[in-house]
Symmetry: C2
Subunit: 413 residues, 2 copies
């Protein structure tokens, strides 16, 4: 705990330095850090080997081992990411609003950094550099707590970045890594409210639940997506099938993948055989309600299926008799992430856009577009599924707060 | 717990109705509720008498008893408040941003209600009507948990409003009051995350701490203000004295009152005798550091004084030798609420505006202006002292979230 408090104090000291850095100095430091990652890639890979070896001995799943592995190409990708963030406009200092009051007070609402951001994440070590880049460009100090599987890699990456910052005459406490892999330390970190302004968990549902349960720091929940596509009675089925196949199969393990279909009864007879064939080609298992079972061969869907984010080659299906029933079903089971309607009917589209409670609601497009890059933000720290502060893809602006600056000449009440 | 879950379910059902209400219907309902409060004021006062009687028997402090008491004038004030909220522009539906992506996707960021807002508050029963008005106008359902001292008054006010809503054909679940005064129920309420989108505590530091510790619902912290005024070496003392007297004494029990002075050593000899005299007239006790003690008669200040929000006729004072030292002192002890510098030097003003970490930073004006009405918001649900989502005075807009509406014609990734 003492060590954590010291890190908190370091971070608070650093935040006053970072919030005053000019855009030029921040960008130069990002380029220097990118170059340093390239220069030190041999050493980073050597440290990564230790994590890979330990993971292999523990019998880690090959997919996870692959996510954990750093190669020269992946390190080049991390460096490229930092350079791309340097190219994005600096959000800090933007004047969001000005007001002059009848008593002569001039009020200016100006964008400022959040301050100190904590990020708790799981196995992929590239998050270490990515999260630093976004926090740093938006004037924030970051304290990172990575997974134990990637600890040697994370330490190596952090040291390289800290060294680059020192070279640029900037406090190395702009990035700090909690090196302990003890779970109790993670829980203590979540209660470091005195020093940390915002905590963002990046990882599976279990990690996010644990952060929400334990944190006294304000949290932004990210990333669980039980996303639906509703095929309306007025759907163009030539649009519906490719969108569904894309949203389900283009990448199955991501939060904006489609997990569940809702189908209007007027189109089920035509759509289901087409879909069954296309999904079969991609080895996707269908779990359908009774009406779906009457039309195609599938596994019976249970109540639990509707509430499950599979992240796998499985999709649930339910037949409804109106757009209202579809909206009610989606609002009951979704995780407020991304939801789509396929329809040529403007009125039904409008009902869906208004009625569905989610960060991103789509008409005739794949849910896979919920992404900071696809939205043109140039970067992304995660997808928020809560309503407080930020919703949907979070880029640089979503890592900022604001402050009111009020100038008077002696006003009193 | 079962009752709370039922209230949560009612609220979620109501939120889909409220988010679709037109501005006209919302305004008409607010006027009807205002009229109903006036019509039923006799009955509300009769119920309030029960709370007053119980409070008197318990030996409640006369100041608190006064806050608890409802009179025809105070009920007229509540009704007037609802009418004023009806006159404010409806924030819902505002298009915050539109983007067209190279792939043809049209993205629109649109303001939507938060959904279900929970408010936990202490003794003043008028909060029941005020909080309803702001939440309702911004399309939100509200679940209220008032203090046990005001329970009969709160139940009476809620019933009158619910009856008015029914008359207007609007769900009465737009406002629900938790009638249990059991503290365990309050704690359970803070964990009703499945149904409640935002929890706002309104009350003393103890209540706010308890909510932050126990809530799994996202929270906006409000209202603790250990506010400072720094008198710079370049201060115009003719501005300084009235501002300090105003900020300290105009209303002592409020969060934007000044609790502590920081004084540049170059002006202490001139300022302190003037101040001591003016503060004495208002019966304000001065607690000063050693340098202050050398110039005027005062109580020695302890470390604890600097961290204390007195809400009383007491002020602490510390002498510093630079604006940088003043900023560091304030950032160490303040509660991120409202901070002021008195100076004629633009450079020092700029250093202070940038360097002090607070929702509202002032040059040459009283901290008492941190207030939704003074800012021109027309209303206020509280003053946020956190950085996530909203900072400073919170009006209607601060009770909203946003949603991305994306329209395509078959786009896939």
């Amino acid at each position: 705990m003492e060590l954590l408090v010291q890190m908190g104090k370091n971070a608070v000291e650093a935040k006053y330095e970072l919030q005053m850095l000019s855009e030029n100095r921040k960008n130069r430091a990002l380029y220097t850090a990118a170059q340093a990652l390239m220069n030190e890639s041999g050493q980073i890979i050597a440290e990564n080997e230790k994590d890979i070896k330990r993971g292999g001995e523990k019998g880690m799943h090959p997919g996870l081992l692959d996510r954990l592995r750093l190669t020269p190409e992946r390190i080049a990708g991390m460096a490229e990411g930092l350079k791309q963030v340097a190219e994005l406009p600096d959000p800090i200092g933007e004047v969001l609003e000005t007001m002059e009051r009848p008593n002569g007070l001039k009020i200016e609402k100006r964008r400022v950094p959040m301050g100190v951001i904590g990020i708790i994440y799981e196995s992929r070590p590239n998050v270490t550099a990515d999260a630093f880049g976004l926090c740093f460009k938006s004037g924030n100090v970051v304290i990172l707590k990575g997974g134990s599987d990637a600890i040697c890699s994370n330490i190596a990456i952090t040291k390289v970045i800290q060294h680059a910052l020192r070279e640029e005459g900037i406090t190395e406490h702009a990035i700090q890594l909690i090196e302990s892999t003890d779970r109790a330390v993670a829980t203590e970190f979540m209660r470091l409210k005195e020093y940390v302004d915002l905590l963002i968990p990046r990882g599976g549902a279990g990690l996010i639940r644990s952060v929400v349960e334990n944190s006294t720091i304000p949290v932004i929940e990210t990333g669980t997506g039980n996303c639906h596509i509703y095929v309306d009675e007025a759907a163009d089925l030539e649009k519906a099938v490719p969108i569904i196949i894309n949203a389900k199969t283009q990448r199955i393990g991501v939060c904006n993948a489609c997990e569940s279909l809702v189908i209007h009864e007027a189109v089920e007879d035509k759509l289901l055989p087409l879909l069954a064939m296309a999904l079969k080609e991609h080895q996707v298992e269908i779990r359908g309600d009774e009406k779906v079972q009457q039309v195609i061969d599938c596994v019976p869907a249970t109540e639990e299926d509707y509430g499950t984010e599979y992240l796998d080659y499985i999709i649930s299906m339910k037949v409804v008799s109106s757009v209202e029933e579809a909206i009610a079903h989606i609002n009951r089971y979704n995780t407020r992430h991304s939801e789509a309607i396929i329809t040529e009917d403007k009125e039904n589209a409008e009902k869906f856009l208004n009625g569905v409670d989610a960060a991103c609601v789509y008409v005739n497009a794949s849910t896979r577009f919920t992404d900071g890059f696809e939205f043109g933000f140039g970067a992304e720290i995660g997808i928020s599924t809560q309503k407080l502060h930020a919703r949907g893809p979070m880029g640089l602006r979503e890592l900022t707060s604001y402050k009111y600056r009020i100038v008077g000449n002696g006003q009193i009440r």
